[in-house]
Symmetry: C2
Subunit: 233 residues, 2 copies
DNA sequence: AACCAAAATTGACACATATCAATTCAAATC
DNA sequence: GATTTGAATTGATATGTGTCAATTTTGGTT
């Protein structure tokens, strides 16, 4: 078997890479998941899931980082969120139409488990606590989209870019200095503007000393100023 | 008891006004819902539910029409959808934090049932088919928000307004001529623009013969042209 | 019918943003 | 190391959009 499509070398039992969601499962349930999952490694840039395809499996990101985005009009995309380990990815298609409603692309080399959807649904049915946790997870994702809708439609570019950067700080890297895994294009998709505008805003932020970008690294120098820009809009 | 706060005069059994979701319930479950619901009439303009408040109940709109919107930055709002009878309103707060994440305001006189949240959750737990249907409903709502996010961020004003009007046609009134229950302000909130811009776009549409607005009525005259504007963006 | 308050309308203007074309830079490939 | 490709950058320009202020219309109230 190739290294890019293989049965997970290790069992789900004791796996530190699985989404915390699965800690709600008992031994039998986890066995079932274990027996019906596929483990795949992706290289940076590869598409993990394509919008519109049939949802045969749900995903759990074990390691790496990925962008989750909706493909919109004329090639434009809206990044909904950055997916970090260890997180579960389902989406509204699970119960609506069994399709994926977004595309997921690896930003760095990533390892993902694909869990058979019917098995997953079966386990959900049988385990109330698991179902509740799943719904909580899903609901949190929905709320971030609400939030996104508001800030993307009601703030202007500097505020939107500040929000994007603070999102990376607060939710993904948890520290002011982090690797530049997102291209300017990606940052533009994350804040709903053109690449050129993204470049200009980032240049302005650097000129004002809020930000430093160098050697594949980005560092937030003045968090408070960024938060103020976010607030002002 | 006042007419604005009363136990529903009729039982849920045989009620034609309840969301189809509840048709999945058996007699005992419906009895439980019946015994734990409150029926309230609202006049046009009244707030049915306020964003941020504790979610003690979920809602079912029996008659009337309402706008469901997120209160955003500095008094601006984003209308997520128009609520028509007979539909269920829950939202991500049910499983996340038991709060309402949007405000609902009656556009015309409306009648709403409030169902105790704990009772509702209890019934959900006990009835798998009901739970599935609920999730399907919820997921559909989420998808409309995805859709909204894309068209609000990737189209410009004429496209956004065309989408808003076609939404009213396709999803709410199902006919080209309908009462003007939405103010220009509301139409602006539905298409993420200023009131003045909404007025101008609507004027343009009328000039081009796509639309007729008169006497509290709006009529879509050239549906195809509107769809084209929607497509072009 | 007259009045008032709110909503709708308008045009002028300023600002925000996208687009375009040209250039530089960086990384990957041979 | 030379070459090539794609990404990033830049400034000029055109367009889109919001804001403001003034006016008109509408609907409701007395």
């Amino acid at each position: 078997m190739s290294e890019f499509f293989e049965k997970s070398p290790q069992s789900c039992h004791g796996c530190q890479c699985m989404s915390p969601l699965f800690s709600m499962l008992n031994k039998e349930e986890l066995d079932l998941v274990d027996a019906n999952k596929i483990h795949v490694n992706f290289k940076a840039g590869e598409t993990i899931k394509k919008q519109g395809t049939f949802m045969s499996h749900v995903l759990s990101v074990n390691s790496g980082l990925a962008k989750l985005y909706i493909e919109g009009i004329e090639g434009r995309s809206a990044i909904l969120r950055i997916v970090k380990p260890t997180s579960f990815i389902g989406g509204p298609g699970i119960y609506y139409d069994q399709r994926h409603h977004y595309t997921i692309t690896a930003l760095i080399d990533s390892s993902v488990c694909f869990i058979n959807l019917q098995v997953f649904k079966g386990v959900l049915k049988g385990n109330q606590a698991f179902a509740e946790e799943f719904l909580k997870d899903f609901s949190r994702d929905v709320l971030t989209v609400y939030n996104r809708l508001i800030y993307l439609t009601q703030k202007q570019m500097p505020g939107r870019m500040a929000d994007a950067l603070l999102y990376l700080f607060d939710e993904i890297f948890l520290q002011p200095k982090f690797p530049m895994i997102l291209s300017r294009f990606d940052l533009a998709d994350l804040s709903a503007m053109s690449r050129e505008s993204a470049v200009k805003i980032l240049r302005d932020f650097q000129k004002e000393g809020l930000l430093k970008i160098s050697d594949h690294e980005m560092e937030i120098l003045d968090e408070e100023a960024l938060r103020k820009i976010s607030r002002i809009g």
